[in-house]
Amino acid sequence: MLRFVLTRIGLPLLALLLLEGAFRSNWWERFAAPNSHASISIRVKQALAAEPRRIDFVTLGSSRAVYGLDHARIAALAANHGLVHANLSMPGSHWMSVIAVIDWLRSARPGVQGGIIALSISDLKMIGNGNYELAIVRPFQSLVSDRGGLSQRFDWRDPGSFGAISALYQYRRDLQDAVRHPLRRGADIGWLASLGRHQLFAGPKQPADTCALPWQTLASCSAWQPVNADQTHAVQVCRDLLVGAGMGGDWTQLDPSALPADRQRVLDQRQRELRGIGWKQPPLVILLPVTEHWSRELLPRGIRAWAHTILDPLVADGSIRLLDYSDFFDVAGHTRCDVFWDSYHQNAKGMGELTDALLPEIERQLYAP
């Protein structure tokens, strides 16, 4: 009887373990939905696999980095020095995925000697950035790896976090999409294999700006009736963000010697991760510009000083180099509307101006230190 019970319960569990192994080996990558978070990472991996040259420098970061930096000009500048600088920034990517990619590059691209980590002060607010980032990290894991501190995200009360310990869970959304749209998926996979290739030495540019909108506050922006697709997008972003307006709190009185436990954890983990990167050159951390929607309405007051509480000691001990451009586009306390296309992202003009300012620093600090 015992054998019977063990067989009937044990064999299904064994089958699950085998499948978990298959998914941990990233067997599912070829079937990942083109618009999924996992697919963003897969495209970066595919682009790197197709690039025969040695990669010397990389740019890592979120969608702010995707649209905030002119990756073609950075690559061209590196090429002038006989170096190859690849753009690996991915929408949705934050600290966990940045650290996981750096860890993965050690074996996948051992020639990488340094690079840019382009995030913003908002990324230093909390330890994590939502369960969706688990899917971005998955393709950079191996059968047994725990890159980016993935397993630390596991919370048994939150099924969305089970992807932190199980690859089967991480591809949940892909599989649901496969069942919902089996026919469309075939075409999408073909598209993924060709058109959706990640550009290592360029990036997208957005021409639109927000000057036609009442841009000063999230409330005024949200109330606007858009008249074209660009405005519709920008207003929708305002509306999505409006629910969090005024809830940032006040961090101006933080005592570094007696921090609340959650902030102490953020400080410890970020400093530990940045000190442990292990590149030949210290990473160049760039705090990208944020709009006043973030600095005034969404983020805690004092967040910028908090970011420096984390990063300045690392600068002092030589673990990182730091460029803080958080208020680069602010004039008289307000963000310029002509350089952003929504509350997060710069347009082509903003990208150009920021890159103009950054290129000499990048050249001095990375290519000709």
Partner: protein, 467 residues
């Protein structure tokens, strides 16, 4: 401790593992199951353990007193009044107060009663009915009063069916209890399939439907009419998968402890008449209402007129049993009128009960859609929301159907309806339970994968836990 929680999985594994060595020691095994049941119930709110213990001891005492009582009618009246009194206090007192306040205000009175600050004990409707059935059976002479308080306490509190059924009759439970606790391989295989199916029904099907439909139910004022129509059908399947999923788990878990419980669902949406629906839906409640209410009222023994009255009264009270709200009364009244209307009108139409396929399909169509119509009152938060749903459905003819937005839910509903039909047609659970080892293992593996891959992030509580 919900069935779909990690706490329950761990609790069950511990109880099951330690129950196996106790099987040969009947009394120790009963004590163990009773202790586990009280822990299960106490994990929700240990204060209310006293209530279930009171209900147990009181009805056990009444049962014993029947033996030498000269006035058994007084005893049974005492039992019914005590049980219904407890139920009335905890479940219906605030409903009565709110209704009284509304009536007073309607007549211009400024007198208002204060609501009672009391929490509804989980499962009270189920274990009260179960306990009452024991005293009624003993009173009727259908069952000998139980000597052992331990046995009786386990009957009332046995954790797999404590909070949401199936409502087991005392005679059935004690028959199982008096048999040696043994398991056959066939039973275990079937129990595992039931549990796996139960979890998939609840966590994949019911919760996915809830994730799609709940936003519509919560925003009725702004929802478009076609979305409301789909939400009504979605709820019909959600409540079936939710409740029958719970029941499958309950029956499967009980089976692993050596208890065979009666079926509670038999593919109810395949019914082609309302009478058949109630023979397929929540079968143990239907049976309880028939045996202890409908027949007690006289059933169909006093002519057609009183039969209809009895049917109506039974369904009204059945509706009210579900919850303290006028919406449940309306739901019960609708089903009562369906049953009466079926006997009075439909069955008199020539050819209506024909076995000709188009007629069977027509009967199914009428039955299914009227049942879904009644679900509107069951699901809506209040009467005003029910009216809002009806007003939205009234504008369907002029509303535009957003095919892109609602095609996924429409397809899902068709898929669920097909699965329901296939399950009923081929009795898949039974077949898989008796299947060869590779098929059984494959089925269990597929069920586990479905739980991992297709469980939505949104998890709704078991609907019948609130009753």
């Amino acid at each position: 401790m919900n069935f779909n929680s990690w706490q329950f999985v761990v609790f069950f594994l511990v109880v099951f593992a330690l129950s196996a060595p106790l099987k040969r020691h009947s009394t120790a095994h009963k004590w163990w199951l009773l202790a586990a049941s009280y822990v299960f119930y106490g994990s929700w709110n240990w204060h209310y353990l006293g209530l279930i213990v009171f209900s147990t001891v009181f009805d056990y005492w009444i049962g014993r007193r029947f033996r030498d009582s000269q006035r058994p009618r007084r005893l049974i009246a005492l039992s019914v009044i005590a049980n219904l009194g407890v139920l009335a206090f905890f479940k219906y007192a605030n409903f009565a107060i709110a209704s009284a306040n509304w009536s007073l205000a309607a007549f211009g009175s400024s007198v208002q009663f204060h609501a009672i600050d009391v929490l509804l004990p989980v499962g009270i409707s189920f274990y009260t009915f179960q306990s009452m059935s024991y005293t009624i059976d003993v009173y009727r002479g259908d069952l000998k009063a139980r000597d052992s308080l331990l046995d009786y306490a386990l009957f009332v509190a046995f954790f797999p069916q404590l909070v949401a059924g199936p409502i087991v009759r005392a005679v059935e439970f004690f028959r199982e209890l008096d048999q040696p606790r043994h398991f056959t391989q066939k039973q275990i295989a079937y129990a595992l399939i039931l549990i796996a199916f139960g979890y998939v029904k609840k966590m994949v099907f019911a919760d996915s439907l809830a994730a799609a439909a709940d936003p519509v139910w919560n925003q009725l004022a702004t929802a478009d009419p076609w979305a409301v129509l789909l939400a009504v059908y979605a709820f019909a399947f959600q409540i079936y998968f939710d409740f029958s999923g719970y029941t499958d788990i309950a029956i499967g878990v009980a089976m692993l402890f050596g208890f065979q419980f009666p079926k509670n669902f038999n593919y109810p949406y395949l019914a082609t008449s309302f009478q058949e629906f109630w023979r397929r839906w929540h079968m143990t409640l239907s049976r309880w209402l028939r045996d202890y209410l409908y027949i007690a009222l006289g059933g169909n023994r006093r002519g057609p007129g009183l039969t209809y009255v009895n049917l109506m009264l039974t369904m009204l009270l059945g509706g009210l049993w579900h919850g303290a709200s006028w919406n449940f009364v309306i739901w019960g009244a609708l089903h009562g009128s369906y049953l009466v209307g079926e006997r009075l009108l439909l069955n008199r139409i020539p050819g209506w009960q024909s076995d000709w396929l188009p007629m069977r399909l027509l009967r199914w169509f009428v039955t299914f859609n009227l049942i879904c119509f009644a679900w509107i009152f069951f699901r809506a938060d209040d009467f005003a929301s029910s009216l809002l749903v009806l007003s939205k459905l009234g504008t369907l003819a002029t509303a535009t159907y957003d095919a892109q937005a609602w095609s996924a839910l429409s397809i899902a509903l068709l898929a669920f309806a097909s699965a329901h039909w296939l399950g009923g047609r081929f009795d898949i659970k039974q077949k898989l339970g008796a299947a060869a080892m590779p098929v059984h293992v494959a089925a269990t593996t597929v069920a586990l994968l479905m739980l991992i891959w297709f469980t939505p992030d949104y998890s709704a509580p078991f609907i019948y836990f609130q009753f």
